[in-house]
């Protein structure tokens, strides 16, 4: 842990809500509309946090606790990444399992909250969400394996930090593939086109949105905030695999990360404006393809003399 990592952590957490706004704005501009301002999510959050909550009579404590678990795990997971390119707030060997475990814990809570309402719609959303997340899991881990093989290290801090910078050029092809795979996982985990459509209007076609249908007020705000954080988390993975920041000064490294996150948000918006979402039964195929990309990168790394 260093001062720059703390500063970057606070900065990324504070700026994360901009990312969905940038993606939406990009999509609007590309489809010839003006769109909402990029800081829309801040306004939404301010509004939601000022509101009261409506709870279904069917729900239990699980429903109320889920948004808190989700935001807590997302915040902690961000602490495991070397946001300043050198050090993370918390790093230990094998912490990539912790990263995946934290995200899984958040999902576990939110999915149970969906089932807690006893609504058929939210059950449907929950069911689809776990399917997508399950298929995303091997792709994420294979991406981590690429990083582990390239650097020979075991913590995310090192796998994405200084050691990566020194080996990056030797393993460029496989790291690019891993970044592509991470990006596909990002689209799936943050419920974006072509996996899920945040702007869809029919409950039957939703995944994430329909699962959180009953959450309102501050609870919904926390879920939205966690969603934007997740975008920042996976965006950091993609950026770090593509642009090694280990050798840069903290300031420029932070600047590169933020620029990378913005570029990724724009990319998400571009994907959204040129692609239709996939049919539900095509989703596993999309994520298997992500695994295949990362798997190819693993093979390349294993072959590297």
């Amino acid at each position: 842990m260093s001062l720059s990592s703390v500063v970057m952590y606070l900065l990324v957490c504070a700026l994360a809500p901009l990312l969905p706004g940038i993606a939406t704005r990009t999509k609007s501009l590309l489809t010839g509309r003006r769109g909402s301002p990029v800081w829309q999510l801040y306004a939404d959050l301010a509004k939601l946090f000022r509101k009261g909550a409506v709870y279904s009579r069917t729900t239990t404590l699980v429903f109320r606790a889920a948004p808190v678990v989700l935001i807590a795990t997302s915040l902690l997971a961000a602490g495991l990444l070397p946001l300043d390119g050198r050090s993370a707030l918390l790093a230990f060997p094998g912490d990539l399992v912790g990263f995946a475990g934290l995200l899984a814990l958040g999902r576990f809570a939110l999915v149970l909250a969906g089932l807690d309402t006893g609504s058929s719609f939210e059950g449907m959303g929950a069911s689809r969400e776990v399917m997508v997340a399950t298929f995303a899991e091997p792709a994420l881990f294979l991406g981590f394996v690429v990083l582990a093989l390239a650097t020979g290290r075991m913590s995310l801090e090192e796998m994405l930090g200084v050691p990566l910078a020194s080996v990056w050029s030797g393993s460029a092809p496989s790291l690019v593939l891993a970044a592509a795979s991470f990006f596909m996982v990002l689209l799936a985990e943050t419920s974006r086109v072509p996996v899920d459509d945040p702007a869809t209007h029919l409950e039957l076609t939703m995944i994430h949105e329909v699962m959180i249908l009953d959450h309102s007020g501050p609870d919904l705000g926390l879920i939205l905030l966690a969603g934007s954080l997740k975008l920042a988390l996976f965006g950091t993975l993609v950026t770090s695999a593509l642009v090694p920041r280990g050798g840069m000064a903290p300031f420029s490294s932070g600047l590169v990360l933020i620029a990378g996150l913005v570029v990724i948000a724009v990319g998400v918006g571009m994907v959204e404006s040129v692609m239709a979402r996939l049919r539900m039964n095509r989703l596993p195929q999309f994520l298997v393809a992500a695994s295949a990309l990362a798997g190819l990168a693993v093979i390349l790394e294993l072959q590297r003399p």
Partner: protein
């Protein structure tokens, strides 16, 4: 007399109590509990001190670790069992079941502490037979008897393999003590592959690894809940104990053994959890999860064996330590879940997940304990399942760090990730449909939490899961000691490195959770909190039947995975159901068994009942023998 001997005697004494006080079951139950608690405490004390001092065989850390597991699960399960069986009517003798439970416990301890082939095999058989008798406790049910029969046949195949293995192995040793077997290991020569294969067959059958898992779901589902907890949580681990003991005695194993174990582990893990996802009978589902967790343990054992084969101490230590830790952890949370399943079955009168719902309302404490166990088995931080999976994963990552084999084993980590994801899917299904939402079947009744005597063991197991998750060194430090013994390498602090990170992670989750909870309640309380019906997207009059069931919840995943796992998904206009067929049991074992039966009935033609035919058989046999001897003699 050592504390363990005394403890075993006390446990046996406790087991006899219900039989003596047949007429006064309360007193019998009390005596049983006193014996088991006292004996268990003594045994645990022994295990703790043996782990600390690493004594000779029979009191070495490996034995002590498994005694720890056996008693840590056995004692709470017995306490639960006394109350649980007290309400059971119309099945086998309750007193007998208690007695058998004590015998099973002692036999398990015997397996873990045996120092020679003879005592090991005797304990092994006593364990198998007492477990069989407990499986058919509800012998008025056809499926219990059938499951018992399958179990009895398969477990004896396992014993047969072990007898063969030990006789081949001890052929190279002066006597049949484990110490002599260990000393003879370098001189096994061509016998080594036999020993390795037979140990794999014998111990993997007992552990319930794919493809020899098929006896497990039926048997574990048929037994009373506290016995299921014992079988799934502890008994199958004797297979793991056997593999580890074999690896320890052999010293160096060839690489293929480790690779095969890793492969079996991945297959068991993935198929086990997929089959569980398709199961909608709670106890069968939990039993399939045992197959999954055995898979994770086998990945660890295999990684450790690879580390030994390729001379990579840290890989070996991490692999074995992870496997050992997961053995203990799985014992804790799986028995918790099985005890919870017993409560569900008593409270609602059924284990069919598709009919349940909303049980958290009437039995909140059970729901909370079950939820915690579910999170632990899914490998989520900050609970104990996460710690052991973390250690196994680090073993694989360490393998990737070097330049030589077994570098490629790191790919298995993706398998671990997929297993974890599927486990989350399965346990959200279980908790969501049993405890949350509305009851799906109006005919199902909803009972309250059980009496404290049944609740306390569950809460104790849940507390152990939290403790070992938040303070992982409690488990990792002794497990490392055992791993040192099994691998033969001294630990240079590799296994424990980063452990404080896991603790910080756990503290972080708890702290942020509490702060977040306070924050969100503060935000909500500032404004109005309203209660309403669940929003049904404008539809009115949706009934509880419209809820997602376990079948429909699991459908997208199962459809995506397809028929590869032997699942049949039936879509009807008003209902959807998934039908798991066990690929191995229904596809291979049953047809072979039926073939054997039909051959047998054909062989019955020989049984004519007429004397002259039998005389003919005698003549034929004698002449065949003579011909055989003639050919033998002619050869110089």
């Amino acid at each position: 007399m050592s504390p363990l001997g005394l403890g075993v005697a006390l446990i046996l004494l406790g087991g006899v109590m219900p039989l003596i006080f047949r007429r006064r079951p309360r007193l019998g139950g009390l005596g049983f509990q006193a014996g088991l608690f006292g004996g268990g405490a003594l045994g645990l004390y022994w295990a703790g001190s043996s782990l600390a001092s690493s004594g000779p065989l029979a009191a070495d850390p490996l034995s002590a670790w498994f005694v720890l597991l056996i008693l840590a699960v056995g004692v709470p399960a017995s306490g639960y069992g006394v109350r649980y069986l007290a309400s059971e009517r119309g099945h086998g003798s309750r007193a007998g079941a208690h007695g058998l439970f004590a015998v099973l416990l002692v036999a398990l301890v015997g397996v873990a502490t045996a120092t020679s082939v003879g005592s090991f095999l005797i304990a092994w058989e006593v364990m198998a037979v007492s477990a069989y008798l407990l499986v058919i406790f509800e012998c008025d049910k056809v499926e219990s008897r059938r499951a018992g029969l399958v179990y009895l046949i398969v477990t004896h195949v396992s014993t047969l393999a072990l007898i063969l293995m030990f006789s081949i192995w001890s052929g190279a040793a002066p006597n049949a003590s484990f110490a002599a077997l260990g000393a003879a290991a370098p001189h096994l020569g061509p016998r080594l592959p036999w020993v390795l294969w037979l140990s794999l067959i014998g111990f993997c059958i007992k552990a319930g690894a794919v493809p020899v898992h098929f006896w497990l779901p039926g048997a574990h589902a048929a037994a009373p809940s506290h016995v299921s907890a014992m079988m799934s949580g502890v008994m199958i681990k004797t297979g793991i104990y056997g593999l580890l003991r074999t690896a320890q005695l052999l010293g160096v194993v060839p690489p293929w053994w480790g690779w095969l174990l890793v492969l079996l582990g991945v297959a068991s893990g993935l198929l086990g959890v997929l089959w569980a996802l398709a199961q909608h009978d709670l106890k069968r589902l939990l039993a399939y999860h045992s197959v999954e967790n055995i898979g994770i343990i086998l990945i660890g054992v295999g990684t450790g064996a690879l580390g030994v084969s390729y001379g990579r101490p840290s890989v070996a230590l991490l692999g074995f330590a992870g496997a050992l830790l997961h053995t203990l952890n799985h014992g804790l949370f799986k028995s918790l879940l099985f005890l919870g399943a017993g409560v569900v079955s008593r409270a609602a009168g059924t284990l069919a997940i598709d009919r349940l719902g909303g049980l958290a309302r009437s039995a909140p404490r059970t729901a909370a304990a079950f939820l915690l166990g579910s999170a632990a088995i899914s490998g989520l931080p900050p609970l104990n399942g996460f710690v052991s999976e973390w250690v196994v994963a680090r073993g694989l990552l360490t393998a990737a760090g070097g330049q030589a084999s077994p570098r490629g084993a790191v790919v298995v980590i993706a398998g671990l990730g997929l297993i974890g994801g599927l486990a989350v899917a399965c346990f959200t299904k279980v908790n969501g449909t049993i405890f949350l939402g509305h009851p799906r079947d109006g005919a199902v009744r909803y009972g309250p939490d059980p009496e404290p005597g049944m609740l306390a063991p569950m809460l104790a197991l849940a507390a152990a899961c939290v403790l070992l998750g938040a303070l992982p060194m409690l488990g990792v430090v002794p497990a490392t000691k055992v791993a040192e013994l099994v691998s033969g390498y001294p630990d240079s602090g590799v296994v424990g490195s980063g452990i404080e990170g896991v603790t910080r992670l756990a503290i972080g989750v708890l702290a942020l959770g509490i702060i977040g909870w306070a924050f969100s309640r503060w935000l909500v309380r500032r404004q109005s909190v309203a209660e309403a019906a669940t929003w049904a997207c404008g539809a009115v009059g949706l009934t509880a039947r419209a809820q997602y069931t376990a079948s429909s919840y699991a459908d997208p995943l199962l459809t995506a995975v397809g028929p590869a796992t032997g699942l049949r998904i039936v879509r009807q206009p008003r209902a959807l159901s998934t039908h798991p067929t066990d690929v191995v049991l229904d596809g291979i074992a049953r047809p072979i068994w039926n073939r054997v039966l039909s051959l047998g009935s054909r062989a019955r033609m020989l049984q004519t009942g007429r004397l002259r035919w039998y005389l003919l058989y005698v003549v034929l046999t004698v002449s065949a023998l003579l011909v055989y001897l003639g050919t033998k003699v002619r050869q110089p």
